[in-house]
Amino acid sequence: MAQIPLPLAVGRHHRFENFVAGSNAEAVARLQALAASHDPATLWLAGPAGCGKTHLLQAATSSAPAGAMYIPLRVTGASGPGMLKGLDALEFLALDDIDAVAGDHEWERALFDLFNRVQCAGGQLLFAAGNPPAHSGLLLPDLASRAASAVVYRLSPLDEEEALDALRRHAQSRGLELPDPAARYLLTRISRDMPAICRWLDELDSASLAAQRKLTVPFIRDALAERT
């Protein structure tokens, strides 16, 4: 599905300000402090899909002051490990989806080399994966042990009230009026993870625009019925 970014979409960008931290406040505070400094550091975010790892990594990349790069390994992994070459020239690197390359010998060698170079250069490294380093599926012992030296933060998915808060904020950033009953109704019928919430808000946004109707419970019910 092609997404045409509009100038108005700035509010939808992954930023610290629009991240609903829930029980992950410590990790968020640490990342903010990291991105605002030049101190060398290695952090590892672990947590299930949809708990906000990508959001935080991109938010940190966006606030990093100097040369920074966000590397979604699941997307760019196809280019091969050569794409990690020379990245130690940057001060901030955020590597998302380590799981996508864990267990691949060539990739692990390249990550190991990058790790050493970044540490020597005093750069900042941020990793995200489903699990903490010890259970991340890394096979190269040298890389696994270096990864184990990272400060690990386990992110938890949002609970119901936090998800409701997130839903409200994201609706607001889209300029959508979402009354409380409608928000609660929607939230019990869709997955509570952020990508799902954003996807459905986008759908409802265009549906309400097309139908020229407000987001009420009956409207959402019909829209959901049509799409599931």
Partner: protein
């Protein structure tokens, strides 16, 4: 940063604004953020960390940049404007250390003073100290081997630091073996292999880490063999680390293996419990963090594999304590490390919930899916649904589906019912609490 920025800082900001609108956020963060503008007379020069970034930008948005730049020519190439690195700023010694001709700066944090000695590393430490005092003559080469994360690199840097301390003009290089290979390949590509040879052979001490990564790289081994001989002949010090005994590294030439054994070969073993505790205490001490001994014992008992992981765990506890303002106690540490120490990620799934609930109430999972409506089955089913709602991110219809294709209103009803019963019936509250604990460990 900005002082050293492009001749056209505002022009580049303008480009960034345009690109931010034209590209997806991910593309912007992946391919545009790594570009660094540099001062290049009248042109807008952009440095990319590698070929991949250059190619992507050329294909996807260079035309936009050129358009915004207008009459200012745009140059895009691989390069870095990073200033020469200085050892960790906070601990940099007063006299600026000599910049190595190759490899990386020695890490001044790695010294003999903060290398915690134990039975597991006594010999290695003593040998390394000898080498630091008499480089080139005590043991040459010094070959340190042992598992990953046990302190080989620390010892190596400590020797280098002592050599420099005693002779600040000494030319000491710390090079990871992957980097040696990389330098050599570049030398071959750019026809500068003679420079490569000259530089490496002019060193007073060469410290090469993780030489197991030479395995299978014949050309690098060949080159290293000659470098090795030249340095040894000139009585320059060589220190090597490896994850195993030299003879056991497969894919390494015999002549190299035998040379590695010419000096002294020492092993570093995993630390015993007491050494681990001492390492933690010393680390905390250096950061001026009060660490109760029982906490150090707790961490050391649970993390036995290597020192790096030990330090990672300690860093996590310190960070957590600084964030919450809570002093580091045993209870606090157990809580802070709960995630890290949990053997397997306890991912709660509906399947898992159904199994646990069925087991708890001594019934079959099939009963939870069934249409039966006797109370002995309905209540556990409702509890399981409520748990699924609370512990997973699944929607009500998805939960209904997982319970024998029930309607989402049934799930909603179950959740409300259980919520009410937990407030009014102790038994239900207890059952729910027990199951919650079992599931979330």
């Amino acid at each position: 940063m900005t002082a050293n920025s492009a001749a056209h800082p505002s022009l580049w900001s303008q480009c960034l604004r345009t690109l931010e609108l034209e590209l997806t956020e991910q593309q912007f963060h992946t391919w545009i953020r790594p570009l660094q503008p540099v001062d290049e007379g009248s042109a807008l020069k952009l440095l990319a960390p590698n070929r991949f970034v250059v190619d992507w930008v050329q294909e996807n948005c260079l035309s936009s940049i050129i358009k915004v730049a207008g009459h200012v020519p745009v140059v895009l190439e691989v390069g870095s404007r990073k200033p020469p690195l200085v050892a960790a700023a906070s601990t940099a010694p007063v006299s600026q250390p000599r910049r190595p001709v190759i490899g990386s700066q020695l890490d001044s944090n790695f010294t003999f003073d903060n290398f915690v000695e134990g039975k597991s590393n006594q010999l290695g430490r003593a040998a390394a100290m000898q080498v630091g005092r008499n480089p080139g003559s005590a043991y040459n080469p010094l070959f340190i081997y042992g598992g990953t994360g046990l302190g080989k690199t620390h010892l190596m840097h400590a020797v280098g630091n002592v050599i420099l301390e005693r002779d600040p003009t000494a030319n000491v290089a710390y090079v990871h073996s992957e980097r040696f290979v990389g330098d050599m390949v570049r030398g071959l590509q750019h026809n500068t292999i003679a420079d490569f040879k000259r530089t490496y052979r002019s060193l007073d001490a060469l410290l090469i880490d993780d030489i197991q990564f030479f395995a299978g790289k014949e050309r690098s081994q060949e080159e290293f063999f000659h470098t090795f001989n030249a340095l040894l002949e000139g009585q320059r010090q060589i220190i090597l680390t490896c994850d195993r005994y030299p003879k056991e590294v497969s894919g390494l030439e015999e002549r190299l293996k035998s040379r590695f054994g010419w000096g002294l070969t020492v092993a570093i073993e995993p630390p015993e419990l007491e050494t681990s505790v001492a390492i933690l205490m010393s680390k905390a001490d250096s950061e001026e963090i009060p660490l109760p001994e029982e906490v150090a014992f707790f961490i050391a008992q649970r993390i036995r594999s290597n020192v790096r992981e030990l330090e990672g765990a300690l860093r996590r506890v310190i960070a957590n304590s600084q964030f919450t303002g809570h002093p580091i106690t045993l209870e606090f540490t157990k809580e802070a490390l709960r995630d890290l120490l949990a053997l397997q990620d306890k991912l709660v799934t509906i399947d898992n919930i159904q199994k646990t609930v069925a087991e708890y109430f001594k019934m079959r999972v099939a009963d939870l899916h069934s249409k039966r409506r006797s109370r002995s089955i309905t209540r556990p089913r409702q509890i399981a649904m409520a748990l699924a709602k609370d512990l997973t991110t699944h929607s009500l219809p998805e939960i209904g589906d997982a319970f024998g294709g029930r309607d989402h209103t049934t799930v909603l009803h179950a959740c409300r019912r259980i919520k009410l019963l937990r407030e009014t019936e102790t038994r239900v509250a207890e059952d729910y609490g027990n199951l919650l604990r079992t599931l979330t460990g």
